[in-house]
């Protein structure tokens, strides 16, 4: 915690005005409450300024004239005090009111901002998540929202009330005594000058401190990650001394930063005492000469005492607000990211066959699905969902000028099993990412049941495909809920059937609470193989015509895989399946195997063909070549 005067080198917002305007837009949802806040702040500030002014009439009219009198008339005095009490009561009420109202507004605004941020994040294309780390996005929800909360519930109201108080005090000072006010202004300029000088120095070291903190954290992260390596190489001492070095740097930067921040407070304090005594001395002389009365001096002195406090508040709040604005800007940056575009018009609907074999839309689940394809003339075509996928000369790159896939053509007829083999970076996963439109092919040459996939609504397209990924990603919740993720309205029976299909039923039964066992943090209480089985069951309950298995079994040992295989085989029956695998034993019985290298298919055929061809696949299979 830096002293109240410190100016932390807040990450400065790039466009303060624009960001502020956007925040205002959120706040204006609370117009009435906001107006009430403004009134309350004015009342509160006015009360604190006016209260002090009361000293003058009290002293001048009700105290001084009666000094020494035996039978003073106290009624006027009493009513004056009563009025003061009333003003103060109003002030306290105002302060409470604006704080309370602001709390409502700020929590409501933050709630809205959070949910908007989350919903928007969900709609962003996968590409965005490739280029932004989780930590980066998480800090939007933690740091940035937190600073924004500070600013909304304390920063802005305090800033306004302090500013109003300062203006009010200054006005009253001028009214009371212009001459003394000149003196105050003069000393004030001196104070501001000192503040800027020392504040600047401490800001420099605060910046350095920030940088050093980053270095220290980076080092800690790396060493925690490699903790076991450090231990087996007995490097503890060396690591410790390296850490000491950077920690020392941080210490020096922090010490300097806080020294300057720390001495600022006493210096300003002493200057304001000086101001007080100077005003008192000058006021006394003026009073002796008869230019000014005692009551005026009393309230003027009181004003000089209270003057510096709101000034501190302002300088403190300003830097906090700048930090918050920078945070808000980062939040808006995420909100401004373009969501996945979806110009699809083809929808997936339940269907049934009419007598003449024509398709007709059905309300409820019929076991049959159809693509609902509106024509230009307004008529609607229905075609059955079969799971026929074709790539026609597809070229794709995540970044421009960097092709990952180069002229890929392939077809998968309904019910076929197509496998992709190749080293990391050959483009295997990219192909599957294109099928479900995690990424868009610039010129759409991927057809699904003969329909250009760019024309299919993304949600419908993805519903017709099911993916089992290498990293299973289970969610916090029961086993049942996790499997049901594949189809939210699945009955318990459907879930259990899916689990049986995936060969997961037997191990689930043995869990302490069966299907109601809670899974925590990505299913840490299950083995890798069990997690994988759940992921397969999850895909099974969705019951899609097309299945994508992306390295689904690569982190399981071959023996466990043999157990899963049965579940997989039942699942794959009658579906179009795309398999990506590292391990060739997984893909051997595919209808067609594509060997990818540098984004092109260099070999294709079934296992026997490829072995007979004695090409790359043969080399891979016999272990003559490295897959990495």
């Amino acid at each position: 915690m830096a002293g109240p005067f410190s100016r932390r080198p807040a990450a400065k917002p790039k466009d303060t005005g624009k960001t502020l305007k956007r925040i205002m837009k959120y706040l204006f949802a609370y117009k009435l409450q906001l107006a009430a806040v403004a009134v309350s702040i004015i009342v509160s500030a006015a009360a604190s300024v006016a209260g002090t002014y009361f000293l003058k009439p009290i002293i001048n009219q009700y105290i001084v004239p009666y000094i020494g009198s035996k039978n003073p008339d106290m009624t006027g005095f009493a009513s004056m005090i009563g009025m003061l009490a009333a003003v103060y009561a109003l002030g306290v009420a105002g302060t409470y009111a604006y704080n309370r109202l602001m709390l409502n507004i700020s929590t409501g605004t933050l709630y809205k901002l959070r949910t908007e941020l989350f919903a928007h994040m969900e709609s962003l294309p996968i590409k965005y998540f490739d280029t932004h780390t989780h930590g980066e996005l998480m800090s939007r929800y933690t740091n940035d929202i937190d600073t924004l909360r500070e600013m909304l519930s304390h920063g802005i109201p305090n800033l306004f009330s302090s500013a109003l108080t300062v203006i009010g005090i200054f006005a009253m000072m001028v009214v009371l005594s212009p001459a003394l006010t000149v003196l105050v202004v003069f000393v004030l300029i001196l104070i501001l000058f000192v503040m800027k000088k020392i504040g600047g120095l401490s800001a420099k070291y605060f910046r350095k401190q920030q940088k050093e903190i980053g270095r220290v954290n980076g080092y800690i992260e790396e060493m925690i990650e490699g903790q076991k390596v450090v231990k087996v190489f007995s490097r503890e001492q060396i690591v410790k001394s390296d850490f000491d070095k950077i920690n020392d740097e941080l210490f020096h930067a922090a010490a300097n930063a806080h020294t300057f921040a720390g001495i600022l407070m006493p210096i300003i304090g002493n200057l304001s005492y000086m101001l007080y005594s100077l005003t008192a001395a000058v006021g006394a002389i003026m009073s002796i000469k008869g230019y000014i009365d005692i009551g005026t001096i009393a309230s003027f002195l009181q004003y000089t005492r209270t003057f510096t406090q709101p000034l501190n508040q302002i300088s403190q709040q300003m830097s906090a607000i700048l930090t918050a604005l920078a945070g808000a800007e980062r939040i808006f940056e995420v909100l401004d990211e373009k969501p996945e575009v979806d110009e699809g018009i083809v929808e997936l609907v339940h269907a049934r066959k009419k007598d003449r074999g024509e398709l007709e839309e059905a309300e409820k689940y019929t076991g049959m699905w159809a693509w609902r394809q509106p024509n230009e003339d307004g008529s609607i075509n229905y075609s059955e969902l079969k799971g026929d996928v074709r790539f026609e000369d597809v070229t794709f790159g995540y970044e421009e000028n960097k092709t990952v896939l180069d002229g890929i053509s392939l077809y998968a007829k309904p019910g076929q099993k197509i496998a992709f083999v190749g080293s990391t970076g050959a483009g295997k996963t990219t192909i599957t990412n294109l099928i479900n439109r995690f990424y868009d092919v610039p010129d759409g040459k991927i057809r699904y049941d003969g329909i250009n996939i760019n024309k299919i609504r993304k949600a419908d397209l993805r519903r017709s495909l099911s993916m089992v990924l290498q990293d299973t990603h289970l969610f916090t919740g029961t086993v049942m809920e996790n499997i049901r993720y594949g189809k939210l309205d699945a009955t318990d029976e459907e879930v259990i059937n899916a689990a049986k299909l995936a060969n997961a039923h037997s191990f689930i039964k043995h869990l302490p609470r069966g299907y109601n066992t809670m899974l925590t943090s990505d299913g840490a209480n299950l083995s890798q193989g069990q997690r994988q089985l759940l992921a397969i069951a999850r895909a099974a309950v969705a019951n899609p015509p097309v299945l994508i298995l992306d390295e689904a079994t690569s982190s399981i040992d071959t023996r466990t895989e043999a157990l899963i295989e049965k579940g997989m085989n039942t699942l794959m029956e009658g579906r179009t399946v795309f398999v990506i695998a590292h391990r060739l034993s997984t893909v051997r019985n595919s209808d067609a195997i594509m060997v990818l290298e540098n984004g092109t298919i260099i070999e294709r055929g079934d296992h026997e063909d490829l072995i007979a061809a004695q090409g790359k696949y043969y080399q891979l299979y016999t272990g003559m070549f490295e897959l990495s």
């Binding site: 509160s44 604190s48 009361f54 009290i58 002293i59 105290i63 000094i67 020494g68 106290m74 005095f77 005090i81 003061l84 103060y88 306290v92 302060t95 409470y96 704080n99 409501g108 709630y111 959070r114 989350f118 919903a119 969900e122 996968i126 989780h134 998480m138 929800y141 933690t142 519930s153 790396e222 990650e225 076991k228 390596v229 231990k231 007995s234 005692i294 009393a298 009181q302 209270t306 406090q309 990391t424 479900n436 995690f438 993805r462 099911s466 993916m467 990603h473 916090t476 939210l488 083995s527 890798q528 071959t558 023996r559 043999a562 034993s585 003559m624 070549f625 490295e626 897959l627 990495s628």
Partner: protein
């Protein structure tokens, strides 16, 4: 709420693949609403702070004006004294505010202090032996004497259960078994990354707990399953094994680990800079660098924990051959998924569910052990 964001970020592909964005939004909205309510409740108290402070201050002012005024009129107080008094009250108020502020900060930092203290107080359960300080590791023999081990120190949840075997110096031993069967746990006991619960582990004829940790770990080189390289040049990373290694020693170790060729192919060779975690080399290259790093220790014992999984079988066998030729006296323990990686070992230990299922040579196991045969067959299918 943060947990739900985190979970969603990690699993974004699953969320999208199953078109569950709305479902997740619904979940998040509930969490965010709970946060809002909690915040409202907590801050309701906090915002009383300011008005109460003002209230007290204002009461003081009124009281002083009233009583002070009467005293001045009564002649018991001078106007100047009255004004000093008001000033003092102001000062006291300021100080009180400061104290309350500090108090809040102290309360807030107390929680953090506790958490720091928790880490500092965490008992170091693996302590250097107090016994013979100069005890050296004489040879690379290993004995497991009915060892049981559990990460949670809970005897009902054993990761390793009553494991006994002996390894002679210079022997090559393979360990094979399914995921979670305890292979990694087994070898981590040798350099004392963990301590046993029951039984003992002997290295070079002495209990590992009798050695100084530094001496023990310098004699036992482990190439971990999760290879971690650090930011720095390749050479700097390799020197973790031996700070004083000469360039020629480094090259020799890399040749044994079959890493020299690819390092030499980099434009900057051994001075190539690796990013954090070695992001700019492939998995197989990382594994070979880690092996070279371990070799530089010139260990009495080398443990490869699934360290060649991303290396192709041809290179894998070259590495094993080089190890056999160049490190004759070093005991080699090789954990692997691939049968081919261990089939030429002197002996193979088959692990299953934390127990030693069988020990024997490739041929013996193939003939007599069902697990081994299953693994073998699942990997050989179709290879004629």
């Amino acid at each position: 709420m943060n947990a739900s964001v985190q979970e969603c970020l990690i699993a974004i592909r699953v969320v999208k693949a199953f078109v569950r964005e709305d479902h997740e939004n619904e979940k998040f909205r509930a969490a965010a609403d709970a946060v809002r309510k909690a915040q409202l409740k907590a801050e309701k108290m906090l915002i009383l702070n300011m008005p109460i402070m003002q209230f007290v201050m204002y009461c003081c002012m009124i009281a002083i004006s009233w009583f002070g005024g009467r005293m001045i009129i009564g002649g018991t107080l001078l106007t100047g004294e009255f004004m000093s008094f008001i000033s003092y009250v102001g000062q006291i108020m300021m100080s009180l505010m400061m104290i309350s502020f500090v108090f809040v900060v102290v309360v807030m930092s107390r929680a953090s202090a506790f958490r720091i203290a928790e880490v500092l107080d965490e008992e170091i359960d693996i302590r250097d032996s107090s016994g013979n300080k100069d005890l050296k590791v004489e040879d690379g023999s290993v004995v497991f004497d009915s060892v049981s081990f559990s990460y949670s120190k809970n005897k009902d949840n054993l990761t390793l259960n009553d494991c006994s075997f002996e390894i002679k110096p210079g022997e090559t031993v393979g360990i094979i078994g399914g995921t979670g069967s305890g292979k990694t746990s087994l070898v981590q006991l040798i350099p004392r990354l963990y301590d046993v619960i029951e039984g003992r582990v002997l290295v070079g004829g002495h209990d590992v707990r009798d050695y100084k940790l530094g001496i023990l770990r310098n004699a036992v080189a482990v190439v971990l399953q999760k290879n971690v390289l650090f930011s720095g040049t390749i050479k700097e990373n390799l020197r973790w094994g031996n700070v004083e290694a000469t360039d020629s020693e480094i090259i020799e170790a890399c040749k044994t680990a079959q890493a020299h060729d690819f390092i030499a192919s980099f434009p900057e060779g051994y001075d190539t800079y690796l990013g954090q975690g070695g992001v700019n080399v492939s998995g197989g290259q990382k594994q070979r660098l880690s092996i070279a790093r371990a070799l530089l220790k010139r260990p009495k014992m080398l443990i490869l924990d699934d360290s060649t999984s991303a290396v192709d079988t041809a290179t894998d066998s070259k590495i094993r051959q080089a190890l056999r030729e160049n490190l004759k006296d070093t005991t080699k323990i090789i954990i692997a998924q691939r049968i081919t990686s261990v089939s030429d070992a002197d002996r193979i230990i088959v692990m299953d569910d934390g127990r030693i299922n069988a020990i024997g040579t490739h041929d013996e196991l193939l003939a007599a052990n069902s697990i081994y045969r299953e693994v073998y067959e699942s990997q050989q299918k179709g290879v004629a």
